[in-house]
């Protein structure tokens, strides 16, 4: 699809869903309320609950979608995503350590900081483990190792937790959700996500050249060390900050580039911006769905995404298994 069609289409859907996200929920807030803010108490629902939630969905979705698209482009692997590659897990471990040691009491910035450090360490280990001549499965295996290590670290923190409430708090947060977030979380995540996305967008030409493999890209004058630094910094900041404020929401970065790839002619650089918008759309849509599902307790967004994303992962794996082996 031509950019002249794709961008208006994606933006249109995004705006539509953003509007819907302000209306939809256990309490349906119709459009008419927006015109009479001072008179209607439901205005509080929009402004205090749903607006920050929708903003966060856009931010976090864009961070995850763009991170996934960049990681897939770099690894030439359609299964790459911050969750699958363990970056979300190491970010979560960082955030859990900050929570566990009460660092969040010192400053609210400690949690995103710790999550970003975790994410940066995760990407760093990933790029080092897969190293030169990285095979397609090499990244997935490196990601599996990271997921195991980070999972063990989180379990350790849980088993050492001083009281059951701390456990409940950590577990609750880990599952990934946009519920009950305020503009405080938006403020904490925004600068890092914007900066991270900027770094990731700068990898575009290098990711295009990587279509020809690492040798091909290097022969075209692409600096692999610069590309790796941009990628690590970008994913570390964007995905790290996203995990810090919402917990682990997996598969957005996996599913979104897949849906968009055929629309942009598979060129990895052309996939970046649409994947950011697409990630925001997927996250907004999923968040609206979990709000509308009639359940005693709202389903966690991270859990819902895993329920949809894991089968998707399996389908891609089965379809591409000959190419990936």
């Amino acid at each position: 699809m031509r950019p002249a069609l794709l961008y208006p289409l994606l933006s249109g859907v995004l705006i539509l869903l953003f509007g819907l996200s302000l209306m939809a929920g256990p309490v349906w807030v119709p459009f008419s309320v927006w015109t009479t803010p001072d008179l209607d108490p439901r205005w509080a629902i929009i402004f205090e609950l749903r607006l920050p939630r929708a903003c966060l969905a856009v931010l976090v979705g864009a961070a995850l979608g763009l991170s996934g698209a960049a990681l897939q482009g770099y690894t030439r692997n359609p299964l790459a995503d911050p969750g699958v590659l363990g970056v979300s897990s190491t970010a979560a471990l960082g955030a859990v350590i900050a929570l566990y040691y009460g660092a969040t009491v010192i400053s609210p910035w400690m949690q995103p900081a710790a999550a970003m450090v975790g994410a940066l360490l995760g990407v760093g280990v990933l790029l080092a483990l897969s190293g030169k001549g990285s095979s397609l499965v090499g990244f997935i295996l490196a990601g599996a190792v990271l997921n195991i290590i980070a999972g063990a670290g989180v379990s350790l923190a849980l088993s050492l937790a001083p009281n059951p409430w701390a456990v409940a708090e950590i577990v609750n947060w880990l599952m990934g959700s946009l519920a009950d977030r305020s503009f405080e979380e938006v403020r904490l995540a925004l600068p890092f996500i914007v900066l991270g996305c900027g770094l990731l967008l700068a990898t575009g030409p290098a990711l295009d050249a990587l279509t020809l493999g690492e040798a091909g890209a290097r022969s075209l004058g692409v600096s692999m060390s610069r590309t790796r630094a941009l990628l690590a910094g970008g994913v570390g900041l964007a995905a790290g900050a996203a995990v810090a404020v919402t917990g682990v929401i997996g598969f957005v970065g996996l599913v979104t580039p897949h849906l968009i790839r055929p629309l942009v002619g598979a060129r990895p650089g052309a996939l970046l911006i649409p994947s950011a918008v697409g990630g925001a759309i997927v996250t907004l849509a999923a968040d609206i769905v979990v709000r509308l599902v009639p359940a005693a307790v709202e389903i966690k967004l991270g859990v819902a995404m895993a329920a949809v994303g894991a089968p998707f992962f399996l389908i891609v794996l089965l379809r591409d298994r000959s190419r990936l082996s």
Binding site: R76, A202, G204, P205, D208, A209, L210, T211, L212, G213, A215, G216, A217, R218, S219, L220, G221, V222, S223, R261, G265, A266, R267, P268
Partner: protein, 261 residues
Amino acid sequence: MSGFSAAGLSGSDLHVDLGGRRILGGVSLNLSPGQVTVIVGPNGAGKSTLASTLAGLLKPTSGLATLDGRPLSAFPPRERARRLAVLPQTPEIAWPVTVRTLVGLGRTPFTGATGLSAADHAAVDRAMQTTGVTAFADRLVTTLSGGERARVLIARALAGEPEWLVADEPLTGLDPAHQLDAAALFRSLADRGLGVVLTLHDLTLALRLADRVVVLSQGAVLADGPPAAALTPDVLRRAFGVEAVIETTAAGPLVDVRGRL
């Protein structure tokens, strides 16, 4: 340093160690533009390593690879890439892009974040015409045959309109007809002034195509010169360990390998 002139693509006393093993042990040569230089040698002789070193992708452990007298390692990567294009031995095409998009990647050393300019598109069109792939410019690379794919990859290398083309075993995996097509293409590129450096396994093709043949054996140059002078039965015996006769046929010289020593 004596022994090599400033112009052209040169290696001077190139030593390359990889993984603790010596791959090249003192290779010196000076290649001229407008010629097809073919590097031959048995498996493990260091052909690919020499090609990568001359392409500036591999830094020699000692010695110097230069382009027009300037060390390749001193070139900014983009500038080097503009002047010298490389076809890797096992070209990878990771995504199902169109032929035109793939060939356009050859313009990477010229483009910024804004994508291809009109001049870039014109160069892409010229490269596709030269290699005869214009007819399937809008097809996906995943749907191409091996011969079509090889030509598209050559078009990609030419899209940057380089002065030098270094191709590592570009004819491997092609049927005889497509091998001849590709060889004729390399010939015509050299006739137009491009410096073409190829590694090949087919000795007969090397004899017929090359202006100059470099025979590598165990990381050193065993013979270097015009094809008939470089590829003699004696050299083939020492380099490959085979008994061979060079016959003259109506179609040109033919290397007839009779057996192992």
